[in-house]
Symmetry: C2
Subunit: 310 residues, 2 copies
């Protein structure tokens, strides 16, 4: 039983509509939006990562799921493994305090367990949110003809990880994108009434777009040349096909990927502009399945690895 | 920073009233009751425990927290660590399916992460419930003069663990109490309007009673000779002081411990009788702090270890 088999088995158990087939960013039970994401040392964060940043990331990745459903977070529950390193734990608690204050979010409860020293650190967080009265957009509502959009820029966090690993010259913008991702809560709440499908970009733009295509039963055509890249990224990597493929398969962006009727374009642009956040059309949905990537007029062969599989 | 220091630090963060000072079985946010408990191999379950039983226990310990708040569970989120043992994972999924069907409870979502083979298995579950219109009883509402009650019998699960470890002759009742604890959801919902304080007995009757005393700012006098023991326990252990101290410090009972005005005694007995569940007065609250244990007319010295500390 692989991880995919195990999740397939859980899908067979999770038949309640609120679970959304375990194929969405969060569960939606009445007006409640519920998510639980874990992060594991060596898988989701580096062993030498600052504990304050690990706490930030644990909260941010969960809030990003709520953002993608247009939800307003109301609190979190923490599952914490104490591995016998008091200084590390104290710094984690400091970081938790900082990120929860930043988002005005109560720590409601949770559990703390001791684990043997040397075991990889593993943390879980449950984030609880309230959906808008209009409901919470799913990943599966995209229709043929819809335009596909992404917020912000893509690839900064992936470059930040490469900088952490010493692979490229470092800059603060990309390092911060990697270590302190910003969940797009305000944007998600503002966009939710105007989109047909929305999700966050956590594992890589291509793999996440493919997931939206599969959930919606459409084919996505994604324009690689339209994917917004930051000046900070372009300062360390030239704007070539390889850079764009690396940016769209790297993960940890925590931007919003959403599909909307082309007629909603004006209201979407105005909504984002009012928040001073960039949104960029990067493709469209058609009849079919899967994802097609084009660069200008050229079709680009899909890389073997569309994103971060874990 | 010990575990106690770390939790004290978290208490400094968890200042929202919904968190109840991280000193209750669950958070209570409006009509929502929220709990997240983890179980770790070698700490909360034996390495050779059946995976179906581990799944049962993970769900049951969380539902027991909801039971103690008189809440009706509405769903769970699972945090699961895949350690590369496919047969184990498949059996866990089977057990999860069984326990969720037993309680008519949807699996809403969660997360699955791979961890290195050989690391201790660690699982988290978030259970979400709805409180009664009357609210959710806390651990802190007990008043001097209140009577202290416990449901069911105490010590079966502790004897079941001793049987699993080959320390005493086995019987099915105690083994089942250990491996398939029964959260007292129906009783908790029925009792909640009539109690001043309620919690579940998870770590041992004495330590849990001490926690209620501390939370309520009262002294509890607990009559060891009044603690209800099952025929199955008495069949393998004689009814002597040591048996009673072992039973009240063993943990994993998942019975309800509650305090109520003595005038509520009749309605409490009638409520429990209607459900065919035993409830037994085992002590009372007075002015002061901590816990005093008596056996007949004799005061009993508290054991060094009042319960399961983890």
């Amino acid at each position: 039983m692989t991880e995919a088999d195990f999740i397939a088995r859980l899908r067979g158990i999770a038949t309640d509509p609120a679970a959304r087939g375990l194929a969405d960013d969060a569960a939606v039970l009445g007006d409640l939006v519920l998510t639980h994401d874990m992060i594991v040392e060596g898988v989701h964060f580096l062993p030498d990562e600052r504990p304050q940043d690990v706490a930030w990331k644990l909260v941010a990745v969960n809030l990003s799921d709520l953002a993608a459903k247009g939800a307003t977070p109301v609190g979190v529950l923490l599952g914490y493994s104490l591995a016998g390193d008091a200084a590390w734990d104290a710094a984690f608690a400091d970081g938790l305090d900082i990120v929860l204050r930043r988002y005005g979010l109560p720590l409601l409860g949770g559990d703390t367990v001791g684990v043997p020293a040397g075991a990889p650190r593993s943390f879980g967080l449950t984030a609880i949110g309230r959906a808008l009265a209009e409901g919470a957009p799913s990943r599966s509502g995209m229709k043929p003809g819809d335009r596909l959009w992404v917020s912000g820029t893509i690839g900064n966090a992936g470059a930040g990880l490469a900088m952490r690993l010493g692979e490229i010259d470092a800059n603060e913008t990309c390092l911060a994108a990697y270590s302190r991702p910003q969940p797009q809560l305000t944007l998600g709440q503002a966009l939710a009434p105007h989109v047909r499908a929305m999700m966050d970009v956590s594992d890589g733009l291509l793999i996440d777009a493919q997931r939206m295509a599969t959930a919606s039963g459409c084919r996505i055509t994604l324009r690689l040349d339209a994917v917004p890249l930051s000046a900070a990224l372009l300062a360390v990597r030239p704007d070539v096909l390889d850079t764009r493929l690396a940016a769209t398969t790297a993960g940890d962006d925590y931007q919003l990927l959403f599909a909307a009727d082309p007629d909603a374009g004006a209201v979407i642009r105005a909504t984002a502009e009012a928040l001073n956040i960039a949104v960029t059309p990067i493709g469209h949905a058609g009849v079919g399945e899967g994802i097609v990537v084009i660069d200008g007029a050229q079709r680009v062969a899909l890389p073997d690895r569309l994103g971060f599989m874990h």
